[in-house]
């Protein structure tokens, strides 16, 4: 199910295919800029604190 370091490495051809498919689905979200509104919310709290 994984290697000795607790990493959950894919084991089968299906796992590798699944990994590629999931990256295709989620990588864009990971890379896109954080919405300004969210950053403003955090900055506002930081300056108040």
């Amino acid at each position: 199910m994984g290697n000795g370091r607790g990493q959950a490495a894919p084991e089968t051809a299906f796992d590798l295919w699944l990994q590629r498919g999931l990256h295709q689905m989620f990588d864009d979200v990971m890379r896109e800029p954080i919405p300004e509104e969210l950053l403003r919310l955090i900055e506002q709290d930081r300056s108040q604190g």
Binding site: M1, G6, A8, P10, G21, H23, P35, L38
Partner: protein, 214 residues
Amino acid sequence: MSQTIETQATVRPSHSMADFHKLLVTTLPRLRVQALALTRNRADADDLVQAAVTSALAAKDSFAPGTNFGAWMFRILRNRFISDVRRKRETTDIDDVPSSAFARPGAQEDSLVMRELRGHLSRLPAEQRTALVMVTVQGMSYEEVAAAMDCAVGTAKCRVFRARQTLQRWLTGEERGVEAPKVAASSRKSASSPRARRRHTAESEAGMGHATPV
């Protein structure tokens, strides 16, 4: 294609409260992926992250510096998600999987097999789906997943295994050649029909709430 995306928040350095806001910003990309894994919908994911950030800022004094910030944030996110699911169940039929599940706004049409993957992924129980994304997309170890999901390492492994197993069966009709008797039995029961699978998913999502909402 990239294999593993890791942020600074994946590692757990000791830090002071002065780093809180910096850590929060650093964690956001990862949190947005986790929110999408939970909600299956971009708009809901954005709302969920915003709500979780608001809760985290309000509760920042309860964060213990030097502990796992990513796990702390995910627990807040998950608790908000559970609260939202419960509230929505009172007014809407969450038994239905949205046809736009995991769709990317403005993106080119997926291949047929990707559309199938999106559909099947959205029908997995939320905790299996999220554990799978944490491991497969974010490169988290089972120990990190267990810390974030507040469960045993064995449970985290089991969730990922079940997710892979179920997706493989739905997509290829093949069973995995790895022994997991309890897993196979419960999955077969829950996957008796598409309707039953959707019901199981909704129940699982609502049943996630052993933690107190923040």
